[in-house]
Amino acid sequence: MSVFAARAVVADLRDRIRQFDGRTARDRAVLPFGVPEIDDRLPGGGLALASLHEVCGGGNDAVEGAAAMLFAAGIAARTKGQVLWCLTRSDLFAPALAQAGLAPGRVIYVEAGDEKSLLLCFEEGLRHGGLGAVVAEVARLSMTASRRLQLAAEAGGTLAIALRRLRHRAEADAFAQPSAAVTRWRVCVRPSAALPVPGVGRAQWHLQLVRCRAGAAADFDVEASDAEGRIAFSSRLADRPPEAQLGRVGASA
């Protein structure tokens, strides 16, 4: 059996399993990154819209989660409609979101007093169904809570992003516990490429796809999201096959 035939069989089987799950075409809608290297790794060719995704910062960024926040903002910016941003700490600087493509008129902030009410607001926003995306900066996310959120995201057809922020540097890894999230991303910052003149170039991220339901984990070196919230593939990928290079120039431009 050729590779293509095998793929067709697998795709057919996947469709049938999805029918058993009772998920409709709307649930299968995805939000592609526009970067073939990443989209190919994700089932359906992008981030599943009606589901929960987890993002956390890596290394020193685990507490502030600034890079993770911009990554989440970039994803939310590419959805349609308003975005609900739930937080407990008010250190977010709105102009940065605007520079990541999220216009100030699109974001509604919810400053919940504690984690419990934060999760309630998160779920409420997901169930409403009229929002483009709901982002919540959560410290802890138990299996039960993530399951609830995943179900709420499916029910409302809304993209859910749990932005994990540790409270202390010494705290255990945010992804140490299992969760029902469809994908888990860790965003680490990388030193940027030197410019020919003094200055700071586009930020570089090391993007780890730690978990992906119906997919494999992967690592990517990308350039940080731009003014439209799009990340670009880093031109410095070491193990890229040479023949693919020509086709990917567009993605890194």
């Binding site: 020193n60 102009p95 100030p104 008129g105 409420e124 929002l131 030193p191 030197a194 991220w205």
Partner: protein
Amino acid sequence: MGALAPPPDDRLVLVGREGSRRIVTAVSRPAEQAGLRVGMPLTKAHALLPDVLTMPADPVADAAALNRLALWALQHYAPIVAPDPPDGLVIDTTGADHLHGGEERMLTGLVNRLGASGIFARAAVADTWGAAHAAARFCADPVCIIAPGTTSDRVAPLPILGLRIPPDIVTGLHVLGFATIGDVLAVPRAPLVLRFGPLLGRRLDQLQGILSEPVDPLRDPELASVRKVFGEPIGAPETIARYTTALVHDLCLALEKRGLGARRLDLLFHRVDNSLQAIRVGTAQPVRDEKRLTRLLSDRIETIDPGFGIEIMDLTATLAEPLLLQQAVSSLIEEEQADIAGLVDVIANRIGARRLYRMAPVESDVPERSVHRVAPLAPDDGATWQGRWPRPARLLARPEPIEVMALLPDHPPGAFTWRGVRRLVKRADGPERIFGEWWKRDAELAAVRDYFQVEDASGERFWLFRSGNEQQAASGAGRWFLHGIFA
């Protein structure tokens, strides 16, 4: 008296009649400082202060004004409000304080708002009406909060005038040597009751919470209101929810007749033990949608303790505004905008309307002043922040001082130490010079900040600034701060 009122710094007394005597019923503050007191005969007042301004007292108009004030408090603060004549309001703040940022902020806000409209007010929160009454009138601070369980201790030093008893009992107690509420609480009850009647004992019990004291809530006939009286008391949450739906239906019909939409709904539960429980929900825009209003009320039913049963449910649109019909979709091409007002209301009622906001740009170069909060459903004018300089994702609440090695006059730092970690700067961009807003604040006439975006060896990016330039000492001390984190 409105516009006819004399200025507040006049020495004014109001004059009423007691039998054939003309006595002073109220004194303004300057008059009080001059030695005039309530209850004094007018002749004595004239003797003390010949140029005192006198006006006839009008208790009926006073009561009407107090009612209007109570109605205002009802619309702005809590569902259960009643006038407490002659000069007070009683507000049951149960479940209402968190929507105003806690008890202290609520009371301070109340006193300040009343003060801004020329009403000198004092406020207190306590477990019982009696304790709050005494504390509001006789506590040293204009805002007094008595923590739950400490009522007896806090009220003990207050004078017996705060007990809501007729003046003759007060005089009688004074004659016996009682000065404070604590003195009265300390002695056996029976001889006191024998001498002064049952009222004193009842007031003392109500003060301590031994005897319940329901507040008879103010209701304005102008407001749309529906009521359901039950033959048999109800208690199950499902039953309450069912009747809530029915009441909302009736209320929406009543609102429709007037062309109004509800901005604030109060659902009162009269329990069989003669106490009151209340739910208040608010909406960001006028609403007459039964489903949405029912949802908002049903969300809060769990906070109601039915006790031995509820015999009356009373639903009032405390605040209603004209509801205008709007066209939802204007053309086929335009994308449909999802209506999120319902979601906003649900969340706002759960965590407080102030915690739900949008950020809008302010024309200011100073980063911490460049954002302000607007209501989540405020019209979007599409404005955004001008300028292409990158802004950090996280802005520290206040800039943190850092230790820096930098070349003068305007080079970015080569290394800096923040929170005990030394970082080598690999790349840097700047300076972006931001001047103080001298046209608004005199203190910032010469203030200058030079912002740099720096990247350390691991790729983390920070937003640093140096306050001041080298030429003018007034522009700042030349110290370095870390203000934000990029990514």
